[in-house]
Symmetry: C2
Subunit: 110 residues, 2 copies
């Protein structure tokens, strides 16, 4: 129905980053490469199916890189590519904003 006659990279970027868990995944991976379950724990609360989907998508877009070290005792490493690492600026902007304006948490006291 939609015809991306001019293709807006900003629009696409937003669409990617607004997918559930994507930003959390990138943020976790900015801390360093890690395996699947470790990443799941770092992200917190994501289920393997969704995480798998997201990683597949992010790998297809060249944001993360998957390296299979061993097949048998399953051992995999996920790490950010250059493009992925550049997302740090986005995360940083979100962090700055969150700290500045999202402080008023739903607290009841000081």
């Amino acid at each position: 129905m939609e015809r991306e006659e001019d293709f807006c990279p900003i629009h696409e970027a937003i669409n990617l980053l607004q997918e559930k868990w994507v930003l959390h995944i990138v943020r976790a991976l900015l801390e360093g490469e890690m395996g699947f379950n470790q990443l799941a724990r770092a992200v917190g609360g994501v289920n393997p199916a969704t995480l798998s989907h997201r990683l597949e998508r992010l790998a297809a877009l060249g944001v993360v890189e998957k390296e299979v070290l061993q097949a048998m005792p399953p051992r995999t490493r996920y790490r950010l590519t250059q493009a992925g690492r550049e997302l740090e600026s986005v995360i940083a902007a979100i962090e700055a904003w969150g700290k500045a304006y999202l402080k008023p948490a739903p607290d009841r006291r000081t």
Copy 2:
């Protein structure tokens, strides 16, 4: 299960911004205040129920402001608050990243 013992504003910010359409809405509103349908058109492809829901949430968080000008011939204005305008840095970071790394779109020709 999870106890947000220290409340992480970054985590919260990510959770907010990853909600579908939120970034698109903010980006549209950065262009200037507008009415409901106008905003829907600017965002493109969002259905009124979702948009309404998001605006309600964004207003509750103090990111957007809603002003009802008339009740009967319905006339409403949505505009960003200070906090909302500050999200421009996030949008800018995403724009920069998208332009730099998302260019290789799945297109076949110019």
